[in-house]
Each structure stands twice: as C-alpha cells, then as structure tokens.
Chain length 263, copies 2
C-alpha cells in the first residue's frame, strides 16, 4: 500500500510565526500523500479577550459555550486554517482547508452532559469519517489541512481535540494506506530522562512499553500519548511517531530522530 | 449542457438569522448543480469594533489593511462560511466551504497601488479559476460555498468583491454548463419605478436595455449591476437573474419572479 503521513501540529508551532513558517516549508517538501491537522494555539484566547470572551476551564479542559464556539470557528477554521493554506499554496503545495463539516468529512457527536457540560465539544465515533472525499483529494494531489473542528450534522460546529482528529483520520485511512501518524510536540521524542533532550527512545514496541511502565521509567505526562498511539496501532495504523516539529523531514523517512511507536 | 446555478447572497441575508435560515432552506431544495457565494455583512465590522479595528473607507470602498484582512479571513472564511456549511449539512445538502486559496480555486492579483492603496484587495484575472476541482466536487454531489476571499499565490489572502467572484465563477464554468447567475438583493428585481415593488421588469435583453437607458427609465444604482450582467452574458453565461433572496425557488425555475437578463 502507498504511504500516507497524518501530521498533527499543536499550539507551540501555531503561536510562533517563525517556527510555523519553517514547519510549513518542511511540510511542503514532504513527498507523497499527507494530511495536516492543526490546533489553534493561544491566538483564540487572545482574540477572545479582546472581544470580552473569557476562557472557562474545568480541570484543565476548556468549556465551549456559545460565544466560544463562534470564537474558535473564526480563529481555527478561518484565520489559522486559511493562512496555513495560503502559505502552502505559495510553497507550491496545493492544499485545502477543512473542518469536519466540509464535505461532511467528520461527523461527531456532542459530548453528553454528565457532571459537567463541556458545551459545543464533539467526540468522534468510529466509522464516521468520509474517506472517499479524502481519497478524491489525494487523487488530485490536494493536501487536506484540518482545523480542530467537526460538526454534529444538526447544524452545529463542534470543538474537537486535534490529537483525536489526527488519530481518527489515521485509523479510518489505514485500510487504504500504510499510515504513519506523526505528533509534533515540544520535545525531540519520548525521553528516558525528561531533563535530557538527548535521551530520546528511538523505538517503542508493546514489549518495551510494558517494561518501561513496570520500571516506572517514563514521565507520567507522556503515558496517555503512548496509550493513544497504541490504540491507533491496534486499530490499523502502521506506526506512530512522536517528535519535534523542526525534525519533520527526518521523521518522514526511515531515519527517524523522534520516537517511533510500532506494534 | 446541464444547468448550473451560481447564486450570490449579500449582507442583507447574512445579517438576518431568520432570513438566512429561510434562504438556506430554499437553497438546499434547489435541485441540480449549484454554487453559493456569500458576502460578509455587518458582522465583520461589529467584531472588528470589539477588537479595536475601525473600518477605513475611501469613497465608499473599504481599505483592507493588515488587521482588516485577518478580521475578514476570520469572519467571512471562518464564522460565516462554516456556519452556512453546517446548516446546509443539517438540511441534507452536502457542501464544502471554500476561499479562493483552497485547492487554488481562485488565484487573484493584489490591486496595484495608484492614487489609493486599497490594501489586501484582490482582482480576478480571466482564466484564473480552477474549474476542474469544482467539476470534481459536482461529480461527488458536493455544493461549493464561497466566502468572498481569494489569494495571490504568494501567501496572502485577498478580500475580493463577492459579486465579482460569482460572476467569474459563472463565466469560467459556462463552457461546461448552462449557467444561470443569480444575484439576490433587497428588491424583487429591476424595478420600473423604484418605489413600487410590483413594477419588476421580468426580462431585459440588449435591445430593451438600450431603450430603457435612452428613455432614462432606470434607477441609477441598478445600472452597474445590469452592465455587469451583460458582461457575464457576453462572456458565455446563459442568463443572469436579479431578484429577492426569498424568491430563490421561483427564480431557479422557468417562472422567474425577478428580472431575467438575457442576450
């Protein structure tokens, strides 16, 4: 099967224009099929403050009320997404900006209200991704660029975790492509010693992961990311790469510098 | 050739949630191939005021400085566009939100600075529309929904007149489709007496237009719109309809209630 890269960048790249520019240059030069998924960064909070929309968190998770969904729809789906697309076009990488509402690509479900009402937040059920539209884009050499927004098919845009969108896209396309899912984050990879950037663990499989967990050698914050990576792999994704956005080019080859997570 | 409707709505529809909802219901029930082009309405000005971005006009035309292009990219390309797409999806009309940057559909040229620097404003040269992508959307039964934004292929989004986008799309697709270009505006059509909504002129061809001009029977404000309509017709568009957004359904049939402009 042909290779496909599903690449997610987070706020640390979006918020730094120079870092973003460098990343997009690398991304544009990645050969073959690829998808970009981006978060929103701090710019939504900054613009929201200007508009009198104060962020509202519960245990570190943002609550998306009526004003906030409008805010993130504007900022993620408009400002950030279209600027990335315009930049990629200038770099000769034909691309298209999408939310999950566009072409009904990602239909999500509004998170049910239990103890907390998270508001206009969407979770993505399995089998709710329209892969045929994405395949038609690939056949036209057009790169999809996703903002972290979906819809409920009842007229509402939903704020949706960018890691989850990337992972669900990767899983849904794994039947047709050899997918490498790449999470760009602040570190070079999964570190044996969180204080030492040179201690990247180059490759983690199930056996090594169990051993690292037993020996309590991993920084706690990274464990959910690795769990999510194995979830994706158990659902058909070939491999997951966790690395620094500035190492993208190496991390799309065999000579990865980040952490490659494999079955 | 198959029929295609290119339908433009302006600020009077965007700014009125009830009118917009009614319009989208009608739009969703229009059978066959169609494109929607929307302006931005007053919401950009309102949000801009909240952010301290004051509108700057020269002889009635807005100047698009750095802050303003970010504002309209957010509001037109994000908020307004994605809400329309989500609403159409809920109505069972598969659609996709686009700017001219997406899939490189409309490449424009930044307006040259002469006496006035209009800023990030784009004009659309002929033959700069990527019709093959639009045709691929039609073949998948996906309706394109355009915000009034293009790009310069050098990394910049450009603010572009929605009437012009609609007209250029109509012209560029007229080789493959029988195009009816529909401009929705505040009146029922071109009126013989601007004070009387019942005085719609049902049909205008070149000969009648010359006669009406000679007899000075037309309200001056409508003349540029009719001139633009004839420009489109002279460039291949089959017919142009000027009418009220609430009459959309009739105006997509043979029994039009607005003004049909034909060769």
């Amino acid at each position: 099967m042909e290779q496909l890269f599903v690449i997610k960048i987070g706020g640390n790249v979006i918020d730094d224009p120079q870092k973003l520019e460098g990343f997009l240059r690398s991304f544009a030069s990645v050969k073959g099929k690829k998808i970009l998924v981006h978060g929103g960064g701090k710019i939504a909070t900054k613009i929201g403050t200007g508009l009198g929309i104060e962020p509202n968190y519960h245990q570190g998770r943002r609550i998306t009320d009526d004003k906030t969904i409008d805010l993130v729809t504007m900022v993620y789906g408009g400002l950030v997404n279209k600027k990335i697309v315009a930049s990629l076009q200038a770099l000769g990488n034909n691309s298209i900006g999408l939310t999950g509402a566009d072409a009904n690509v990602i239909r999500a479900v509004k998170r049910p209200v239990k103890e907390i009402d998270f508001g206009w937040v969407g979770d993505i059920p399995r089998h709710s991704i329209n892969t045929s539209f994405l395949v038609s884009l690939f056949s036209q050499d057009i790169t999809p660029v996703f903002a972290a927004l979906t819809h409920d098919n009842q007229g509402h845009i939903l704020n949706t975790n960018a890691d989850t969108i990337a992972s669900q896209l990767a899983v849904s396309l794994s039947g047709a492509f050899d997918v490498r899912l790449i999470y760009c984050f602040e570190k070079k990879g999964v570190l044996m010693d969180v204080e030492d950037d040179h201690s990247v663990i180059g490759r983690i499989d199930h056996a090594l992961y169990q051993q690292l967990l037993t020996e309590k050698k991993l920084f706690e914050g990274i464990i959910p990311k690795i769990d999510n990576a194995f979830d994706a792999i158990n659902s058909g994704v070939r491999e997951v790469l966790i690395g620094d956005s500035s190492d993208l080019l190496a991390n799309t080859t065999k000579d990865t510098t980040g952490t490659l997570i494999i079955y």
